[in-house]
């Protein structure tokens, strides 16, 4: 693929706007809260889009098209079974505690509800995770640009890091959030034409159904046994693993996304952030998954389009999206699409860096290194951490070029980190008997259970370093079951230990636990500003989608 000069003009125009937004926002920053938490003043439509944009990095964008080609419409479960119910739960039940507790981060909530060691465990593991995630995202960007456009890996990585650093350093979280929204709009405008063109060419949905085996075009009908569907998962693993533990864990406890909702300007807006976010989120599969399925169909239609192959043979699903762009996009729109891809890589990185600097500044530096300094000092620390975060990400990206397999492994591990954490939050927020010792032992042993399960089972030739006790039919199945095991371990251990340790008094936990917190009832607000009617609309739409593609 080769870009024309008009494509470069569009690319340059986008980066000019991105940097311009950072430059204009720099004046709004006068405290560490402005820099790290947007001063809790971002309008709700922006936090809602940022909430879902933070998860729409290019790794997801390419991965969803790849999964579409590999697993068919079942991939939509990541949205229709996983993300949407989790986002509703987050907005309705969990946000009152996050926003109401006045905690500045997820680890800080753990400190308020439980104790210092639980916070430390979460803060450190989260900090490490964000750096590696952002490094892996940069590595993927460099690799993709090299593969598709022949650009130099070093230039791609360093230039994108410099741009991310510039706008996050200038405008902090607000700048990252604003640019995530711009990137989200660009993704939608830049990839919707691809979805429309490729699905039309493949004969529309009916044509695709006719040309593919039925288990690729039905999301629910073939889930009775793992051998019947392309994902190799049975209904329990899917619903409990993906639908409950993994999705709820990600959307309800990952500070990267929670931080976006916490930047909203009021409790009511913070609760509506994930709820409003579900509306565009629900329809994203049509833009990000459909092209992948269409690519598979097109490759069977003798149109001159062959499905991309790996050098070693076998289909290269990760290239489904970019090869399709080359087939349908002329110079101009191709520039918009490539800009969208690059933008999503960078906003993924910016998201990680802005979450990292908040957790480091408040939960590590202010808590353990230098407490009690004037706020100006923490603003400086926040800025320095931003630079350090970007530099560490670059280091992680280069580490990934050397130790490819370790990165694969890390991604697997990160996939399970939020599973036990969700059990901790569920107990912490809804069962006031949960004690700090219970939470900490559950969390550490739950995480350990995840790592142990990963290293004693295999799937598609991965995992099983200690022993091979069980072989899963697919990596998806392995992932879902690790999550279920980690979650259950954390739940059981936390409950057991809590029963034998002394709980805190009710007075200490006001605003932190269900039953001791005044949940707001926006009875006077207009109907579309209240959580309940919004939720009903979302649930109805969700049911229609699930039944339609059953």
């Amino acid at each position: 693929m080769k870009l024309a000069s008009v494509d470069y003009v569009i690319l340059a125009l986008y980066f000019a706007f991105v940097l311009g937004i950072g430059w204009r926002l720099r004046k709004r920053i006068s405290s560490s809260g402005d820099f790290l938490m947007s001063g809790r003043s971002v309008p709700v439509w922006i936090t809602s889009l940022a909430f879902i944009a933070a998860n729409l990095g290019a790794v997801e964008l390419i991965g969803m098209a790849a999964s579409g080609a590999k697993y068919g419409i079942m991939t939509a479960h990541f949205y229709w079974l996983g993300a949407i119910p989790a986002m509703l739960f987050m907005g309705i039940f969990m946000m009152p505690f996050y926003y109401g507790s006045k905690a500045r981060s997820v680890p800080e909530y753990l400190k308020m509800r439980f104790d210092e060691k639980t916070r430390a465990f979460n803060a450190f593991s989260f900090a490490v995770m964000t750096i590696f995630s952002s490094g892996i995202s940069m590595y993927a960007l460099g690799l993709l640009l090299h593969l598709v456009l022949g650009w130099s890996f070093d230039v791609s990585v360093l230039a994108s890091a410099a741009i991310v650093l510039a706008y996050t350093f200038l405008g902090g979280l607000t700048s990252a959030i604003y640019n995530e929204v711009l990137q989200f709009l660009l993704i939608v405008m830049g990839f919707a034409p691809l979805a429309i063109l490729s699905v039309n060419k493949a004969g529309g949905w009916q044509g695709m159904v006719a040309r593919l085996p039925p288990n690729m075009t039905h999301a629910w009908s073939y889930m009775g046994s793992p051998t019947e569907n392309p994902m190799g998962v049975e209904i329990f693993g899917m619903v409990a693993g993906l639908g409950f533990v993994l999705s709820f864990g990600y959307w309800c406890t990952n500070f990267l996304v929670v931080q976006r909702a916490m930047a909203a300007d009021s409790m009511s807006a913070a609760r509506r952030t994930p709820l409003i976010g579900t509306l565009p989120k629900m329809f994203l599969p049509f833009i990000v998954i459909m092209p992948g399925i269409a690519a598979l169909v097109l490759s069977k239609m003798n149109l001159g389009y062959n499905f991309p192959l790996k050098a070693t043979g076998g289909p290269d699903y990760d290239q489904a999206l970019t090869t399709l762009m080359a087939q349908f996009y002329p110079a101009g729109l191709l520039g918009v699409g490539m800009t969208g891809l690059m933008a999503s890589f960078m906003s993924g990185m910016a998201g990680n860096v802005t979450a990292f600097n908040t957790v480091f500044t408040y939960d590590i530096y202010q808590s353990y290194i230098r407490p009690g300094a004037p706020d100006r000092h923490y603003l400086t620390v926040g800025r320095v951490t931003t630079v350090a975060g970007v530099l560490l990400s670059i280091a992680a990206a280069y580490l990934a070029t050397r130790y490819n397999n370790i990165m694969d492994l890390l991604q697997l591990v990160f996939g399970c980190v939020n599973a036990p954490l969700f059990a901790t939050f569920l107990l912490g927020m809804f069962w006031k008997r949960t004690t700090a010792h219970g939470a900490f032992s559950g969390l550490t042993l739950g995480t350990l259970a995840a790592v142990l399960t990963l290293s004693s089972t295999t799937a598609e030739g991965k995992g099983g370093w200690i022993a091979n006790l069980y072989t899963f039919p697919s990596q998806m199945a392995q992932n879902f079951w690790i999550a279920i095991i980690a979650f259950s371990t954390c739940l059981v251990i936390s409950v057991a230990v809590s029963m034998f340790t002394t709980p805190r008094t009710d007075k200490d936990m006001e605003g932190l636990v269900y039953g001791l917190t005044k949940v707001p009832h926006d009875a006077t607000a207009k109907w579309y500003q209240r959580p309940a009617p919004l939720t009903v609309i979302v649930v109805i739409l969700l049911l229609i989608l699930n039944i339609w593609f059953r």
Partner: protein, 69 residues
């Protein structure tokens, strides 16, 4: 800063560039699997979207001005 302003300008400009490509160079770098003037249609959509964002921002700014006597 109202985010609708820079986003609106961005999509307006990109829309105009794509429409320009669609009108003046419809065959440049044409894509193998389609004969449609993809640039023209997508550009028109982006232009409309960009102008819509600018209109919304302009209305919001005017209302805000009106509410402060």
């Amino acid at each position: 800063m109202d985010l609708r302003v820079p986003s609106g300008w961005f999509f307006t400009l990109v829309g105009l560039i794509l429409i320009g490509m669609g009108v003046f160079a419809p065959h440049m770098g044409a894509a193998p699997l389609t004969t449609d003037n993809v640039n023209l249609y997508s550009g028109a959509c982006m232009l409309v979207f960009g102008l819509f964002l600018l209109l919304m921002a302009w209305r919001a700014a005017r209302q805000e001005k009106g509410s402060i006597p």
